[in-house]
Amino acid sequence: MNRIFTFLILSCVVLFAAGAIEGEIAKQDLNMSAIVMFLIFVGGTLGITYWAAKRTKSAKDFYTAGGGITGFQNGMAIAGDYMSAASFLGISGLVYLKGYDGLIYSIGFLVGWPIILFMIAEPLRNLGKYTFADVASYRLRQTPIRTLAASGSIATVILYLIAQMVGSGKLIQLLFGLEYEIAVILVGVLMILYVTFGGMLATTWVQIIKAFLLLSGATFMAVAVMAHYDFNFGALFSHATELKGIEIMSPGGLVSDPISAISLAVALMFGTAGLPHILMRFFTVSDAKEARKSVFYATGFIGYFYILTFIIGFGAIVMVFQNPQYLDLAKQAIDGGSPILGGNNMAAIHLSHAVGGDFFLGFISAVAFATILAVVSGLTLAGASAISHDLYASVIKKGNVDSLKEMKVSKIATVVLGIVAIIMGIMFEKQNIAFVVGLAFAIAASANFPILFLSMYWKKLTTRGAVIGGSLGLATAILLVILGPIVWVQILGNAEAIFPYKYPALFSVTVAFVGIWFFSITDSSHNAEEEREAFEAQFIRSQTGIGAEGASEH
């Protein structure tokens, strides 16, 4: 296996180098320091993957890194999962474009974390093993619950992957002059390598390193911007409003009506608590205490990061906007205005050049690229474990499968998901990536979260209620997304949206909760009676951790 791995690394590096040369022909201002730092990161992380591959011997190692990650490390890794390309490039791009609206968006992304800590983290750790479906199906019937939970996970993962792939394509395209499609394929291939060979251990360390680099880089950028204005926010803001108008300092069109506002809030709060790649991270720590610490550290890192993103967005307004160096002349000739190269999501990347020159541009580009790789790896691992642990091992094989076979299925699933991600990334090139993440959150909030939450706290939940209510939530979320303004109008080209709101969560989460409640309380089957009786023992374990999965011995 090691030989295959070495071969894959080499071919990948060759592919990368070949791409870089091609880029040099297409673009004259090729940035050597960026390429060197890209290659160092890729080399380093593949080294970690090689190290992790030797330590990944069982399904438990593959899914949870053996359960021995500390709370601090996991907090960093969770923050890493959350500080995705969509957060870094998308939110700084949104601040650059609309000012204050970007802050509203990032606050929404943050406030789900305390709720996760108070309600979800400890019971999740105490009840589960590899996936959140372990918890949802703890006292309910395995086959239907796992099938549904896995569908919700896979849908969330694929949507989230699209956002990441689009970001990666644009970023590498901008930096190397590579074709968008080739860039997306490159990310897909590297991600498949990390996950199939290194499993959760490699994915976690790639995530930790990237989180550290991203926080350092973003801190430097924010400090550089502020230093320019003698650390006077008022001066930064007044310069920005001179360029973009006073309206960037107030709430704009992001949440124009109360329904959209509440719906966005519901999607972001409950969605965070239903993201499979985030939930999976809680199984990598040894117990509930470490799970708790993970969220504390993660919330701190993420909050700090969003404050930086806000400064970075404003920094881009004053240093990138209308700066001829970053102007997309071809686009300006057609559309007018002051479009920047690569679109608004590249605002942070251009700012890195404005404050730190070619070298720092190289660093931030490499970090942004690392971010995408790390996040897609975590996502793919979560998607693959839903396929292998929930669908294959529990539903198809009814639990009669050995750990190695299950791990093999995960790896096959990883490759398939990687290919799907590449195809979807190419299809969704023109969408605003921050909104695509919003859609993923709607599904996580409507399908995954209600089942998980009620299975932990509501005694009367039955399989029938969870399956019917959860399916209704999932179907409503998907249907309303399709009928909403983004897919129905922007993608399918219809004149007017059938469902007028961009964020369907308020409606779909309500449907899910009401559906689960109604079909549970009206369930008078013998099975339902047993499920209610089993609640007490489950609740004790969820509260105390007695009987919970521990860390592996080695």
Partner: protein, 104 residues
């Protein structure tokens, strides 16, 4: 977990104290977070210009900016408060429960 053990833990006063204290605390903190956030987001929805008020007459900085940053810091502080109490008080109670079942 067998029936006997379930009954034993259920009747353990430490367990009852842990569950009521922790869940009560968790619910209070959750409500605090929800109230703060929904006040923020609904202010934007119903009265967006409220957050667009400048902090002083000659400033372009709006009160929405320090308020937004404060919401972020508030969320972090809440996680800190919960983690601190859970790591000491709740874990002590939990250890008592775990020790009591070891004795049998």
């Amino acid at each position: 977990m067998n029936k006997e053990l379930v009954e034993k833990i259920k009747n353990d006063p430490n367990y009852q104290e842990l569950v009521s204290k922790r869940n009560g605390f968790a619910v209070k903190l959750s409500i605090a977070m929800l109230v703060v956030y929904f006040t923020f987001i609904l202010t934007i929805a119903f009265n967006p210009s409220a957050l667009g008020t400048p902090i002083s007459a000659d400033s372009v900085t709006t009160i929405g900016i320090p308020i937004g940053i404060a919401v972020i810091i508030f969320a972090f502080i809440l996680t800190g408060i919960y983690t601190k109490r859970a790591n000491s008080e709740f874990d002590d109670l939990n250890n008592k429960i775990k020790n009591s079942i070891k004795d049998n």
